[in-house]
């Protein structure tokens, strides 16, 4: 009985402490996020996706609490399907997740806490999220989102001008890219014979670089901006 009690103490106390550390960090992160009612920013989007050739595109990003988000671009822009709103939506309510402190790591030159987020329900698409949070300013230096449908998306953040709001100056999305093939009937390049170069295996991950400038924070954004 004594042994069992000790065993329970050994496992439960650290788990409880880890959970408390994580919750404090997430609370601080949420408090920073709550300072932003809305924002818009100019974005330069560069994509490096296997089998897609595209030049950098300029766009404007709009966000409004709690979950309104839109990217407007004159040209065609390629963006990750997930990674913009998933975390803020998940972290918006304590009942939605369980946060666990998983150790420390150095991202860039910043010592960061690794927080693992487990969604409360098993019906969500999101399976697991990992956040590397710099505890000195409560800035997310890196995040990793694993979903049922889209695999894993890793996002690296760099900050400069909007530190106090926790808004990044650049984000690098690393996404899983599945095998891509357009039927010849649709492409109709019927005379094209696949060359040895094309038969080489291509990278299974793609990168999307988003550089953000000219932030307009809490200036009041109309809901019409988000209507498509």
């Amino acid at each position: 009985m004594n042994f069992l009690f000790r065993l329970l103490i050994i496992f439960i106390i650290p788990l409880s402490v880890f959970s408390q550390v994580a919750e404090v960090t997430i609370e601080n992160l949420n408090a920073r996020m709550d300072r932003i009612r809305d924002y818009s920013a100019d974005a330069l989007i560069k994509s490096d996706i296997p089998l897609i050739k595209i030049l950098p595109v300029r766009a404007t990003i709009y966000f409004k609490q709690k979950n309104k988000f839109r990217i407007k671009s004159k040209g065609i822009a390629i963006l990750p399907k997930q990674g913009f709103l998933d975390l803020s939506e998940l972290l918006s309510g304590k009942e939605n997740y369980t946060a666990l402190f998983s150790g420390f790591d150095v991202i860039g030159n910043y010592r960061s806490e690794i927080i693992t987020i487990l969604p409360a329900g098993d019906t969500t698409d999101l399976i697991l999220a990992k956040l590397w949070i710099d505890p000195t300013g409560y800035l997310v230096r890196k995040s990793q989102i694993t979903t049922r449908t889209n695999g894993t998306i890793t996002i690296d953040y760099t900050y400069n001008n909007q530190n106090k709001f926790g808004l990044p100056d650049s984000m690098i999305f690393t996404v899983d890219v599945k095998k891509f093939k357009i039927p010849k009937g649709v492409a109709t390049d019927i005379n094209k014979i696949s060359s040895e170069e094309e038969k080489k295996p291509t990278s299974k991950t793609g990168k999307i670089f988003i550089q953000l400038t000219n932030y307009q924070i809490n200036k009041g954004l109309s809901d019409e901006v988000f209507q498509k």
Binding site: I76, G151, K181, A187, T188, N191, K192
Partner: protein, 280 residues
């Protein structure tokens, strides 16, 4: 004399109802495709981008006039040779069938000039077909769907070209497509010199195009040596202008081979027509 004879050939082409068949067919076909894309174009696009859209999303107006024009050209450029051959395959053999070639050959014009005028008239008709196709696809496409970046659909990936970088590609693409169709025109006129009925050269031209296209499409090593020299291999080289970077070396090679075919077919036609025993 050559100009006068060419003018006469234009009048003959203009007088034949079948000459308008090509223009009417392009108008109807493009009209149908534009209507279909206007009604359900987005599902067509999502069919193409579906494999990407599991992880990525495309922002901006994808279904715009530039993409619509590109889809129209891809679909129709395969069928245009028939519309060209329908008119040009008849230019010499039609005269033989009607019995007017003997009278034509007795006019104070050399047989070389006579045949050259038919080649020029056939080429001009081909140019008209291409211009009409351009007007219908690019102009009407942009009018109906607006302009925007072009998403080029290749079987091995996507190329997205900015709106400002597209018009010159269409112009150059149409020029190369014209050269390819001119080869079809030359082939059908050449075949037309060998027969005395209208249907023969038209059907033979299409049969040759189908045969060469099959040889070109089959990924079999035995055809590797001859594939680069078939004119059908280079008929789709207009698409190369929509690649990034533009493979100029490949385009120059295609132009060279297509011009070579035209010269060869003209030489064969001249040789045959000049030595032809016209008895009909």
């Amino acid at each position: 004399m050559l100009l006068k004879s060419t003018y006469n050939e234009f009048i003959k082409i203009a007088a034949k109802p079948r000459s308008y068949l090509g223009l009417a067919a392009i108008t109807i076909l493009v009209g149908v495709i534009l209507f279909a894309l206007k009604v359900d174009g987005l599902s067509f696009i999502s069919f193409v981008t579906a494999s990407f859209e599991q992880t990525l999303s495309f922002e901006g107006n994808i279904l715009n006039g530039n993409l619509v024009a590109f889809i129209v050209l891809q679909m129709l450029i395969i069928h245009i040779p028939l519309l060209v051959a329908l008119v040009t395959g008849d230019l010499v053999s039609g005269e033989a069938a009607m019995g007017t070639i003997r009278m034509l050959a007795s006019k104070p014009i050399s047989r070389t000039q006579l045949l050259l005028s038919k080649f020029i008239a056939g080429g001009t008709y081909t140019l008209l077909i291409i211009i009409w196709l351009g007007i219908m696809s690019v102009l009407f496409g942009k009018l109906l769907f607006g302009s925007g970046d072009l998403m080029v659909l290749n079987s091995d990936g996507l190329v997205i070209l900015p709106q400002s970088d597209i018009n010159w590609r269409y112009l150059c693409g149409f020029a190369v497509a014209f050269l390819a169709l001119l080869t079809v025109s030359s082939l059908s006129i050449c075949l037309s010199c060998f027969t005395e009925n209208s249907i023969g050269p038209i059907v033979t031209t299409m049969a040759i195009i189908i045969l060469f296209t099959i040889i070109g499409t089959l990924d079999v090593r035995i055809f590797d040596k001859i594939r680069p020299f078939l004119f059908t291999t280079h008929m789709a080289s207009w698409r190369s202008f929509f690649e990034e970077p533009v493979p100029m070396k490949d385009i120059y090679r295609s132009i060279f081979i297509l011009i070579g075919h035209n010269i060869l077919l003209l030489a064969i036609s001249l040789n045959k027509f000049n030595n032809k025993d016209i008895t009909s």
